[in-house]
Amino acid sequence: MLEILQYEFMVRAFQAGLLVAVIAPLIGIFLVLRRYSLIADTLAHVSLMGVALGLLLRVPPLVTAFVVSVVSSVLIERLRLSQRVYSDAALSVFLSGSLAMALLILSLADGFSVNLFSYLFGSLVTVGPSDLYLIGSVGLVVLLSVFLMYKELLFVSFDEEGAQVAGIPTRLVNILLIALAGLTVSIALPIVGALLIAALIVIPILIALQFRRSFVATILIAEVVSVFAVISGITLSYYFDLSAGGTIVLILVGLFCLSLLKRP
């Protein structure tokens, strides 16, 4: 048996990491193709506010992170649809606003700053046994939703107007996609940390797009890339005592650079 798997927290990290690695591209492909990449980053900061709230209220931080990010994702979509502000500007309001809120909560109740930092940058020991159940069940919900809504998500991402004429409830599909993104971001929080989540959701897709294949093949390539990066990242971070999130994302960036060398 590998030495690394003798530690329970490492086993948990691998289990949670694997789950996040599988789910991130499933949501990522729709976000990237709809030009929603920035939403992942925004929701990551929003869920950080959820974590701070959870620490303050002494509720499991992942639970508050889920709730806050799903509620915000609906609000973001509504603000975007209202056309009262540009959609990227709407995102930056949410991004900095929720980070500011997290900092405020942090300064209100001193003493858990170290804990919050582990959510900011990710830390493998953060994944407790109860977290794993939570990550597992939320992950399952996301997986099942994408499986059941696959054709609607694809149609709306490809041609929103065409989907609407075909009778597909496009507004519902849009809100659901963003809510699922919110959930995905929150479960990735302990592994890669809020500041690096967007990379895990976006980069495997960008790499897979370079292969210029069908939609299904693109998802599969992104899955392979994502799982490889997360497993090898966690392993390397253990043996060389590196930040797991940082290692995972740098592996992805490295693979992305390699994929650009491929002839278009």
Partner: protein, 243 residues
């Protein structure tokens, strides 16, 4: 629905994007089953707006829209209507999707939420691809096709839902003359051999008057011509032609 109900009826429609000027003013139009209607008019005259009102993509300010005899607000049988937008021109070259994947989208609404496509759906998509003579390209990526080929694939997607009417918005924009010619031949075949009802938006009066069985000139208000030749004779061509 009674036999005699028009497929699309617009009654006294007005529409404006802002509150000041009406893009369309008191327009009434009926599309009967089996007809081939050309909607023409100058840019900004409101022909695409009119099409979008028919498809429920825009809501009227005044007047009523009915599809197959049902008011559009309560209309649910969307697979009976096919739509070919100008999507082929603004196609995102990075979007990873094959011809087959696009045409199968035409079956999605028929299948319904949460359901997966069946062999029958795949079969219908294949037939639609054969109808537009794009079957050999089924495994190609959309971004590898020419503009005319893409437009055929979008037509196949509309056909795959087995519609009774297809609405097309300037389908041959940015396509070379020969490809355009072939596309019109295909449309005529659909109309005459399969009895498909067609609504075609175009800025090219002479071209459309040649193809369609009736013509409506949209320029804020609407003038309808049951005989396309009358449209050419009556419309002041410089006003309609904006190339």
């Amino acid at each position: 629905m009674a036999e005699t109900d028009p497929i699309i009826s617009l009654e006294n429609i007005s529409f404006s994007y802002d509150t000041k000027t009406d893009v369309l003013e008191d327009v009434s139009l009926f599309v009967d089953a089996g007809s081939y209607l050309g909607l023409i008019g100058p840019n900004g005259g409101g022909k695409t707006t009119l099409l979008k009102l028919m498809l429920g993509l825009l809501k009227t300010r005044r007047g009523t829209v009915s599809l197959f005899g049902t008011p559009i607000r309560s209309f649910k049988q969307w697979p009976r209507i096919g739509y070919v937008s100008q999507r082929a021109i603004s196609f995102d070259a990075l979007f990873p999707v094959t011809v087959e994947e696009v045409v199968r989208m035409g079956r999605y609404a028929r299948r319904g939420l949460f359901r997966r496509l069946t062999d029958e759906d795949r079969q219908k998509a294949e037939t639609a691809l054969r109808d537009v003579e794009m079957f050999e390209y089924r495994t190609r990526r959309m971004s590898d096709l020419s503009g005319g080929q893409k437009q055929r694939v979008f037509l196949a997607r509309a056909l795959a839902s087995e519609p009774e009417i297809i609405a097309l918005d300037e389908p041959t924009t940015g396509v070379d003359h020969e490809t355009e010619e072939q596309f019109y031949v295909l449309l005529k075949k659909l109309n005459q051999e399969q009895g498909m009802t067609l609504v075609l938006v175009s800025h090219d009066l002479e071209r459309v008057a040649h193809e369609a069985s009736c013509v409506a000139v949209v320029d804020t208000t609407l003038r309808y011509y049951a005989n396309p030749a009358d449209a050419i004779a009556s419309e002041s061509l410089p006003k309609v032609h904006h190339h």
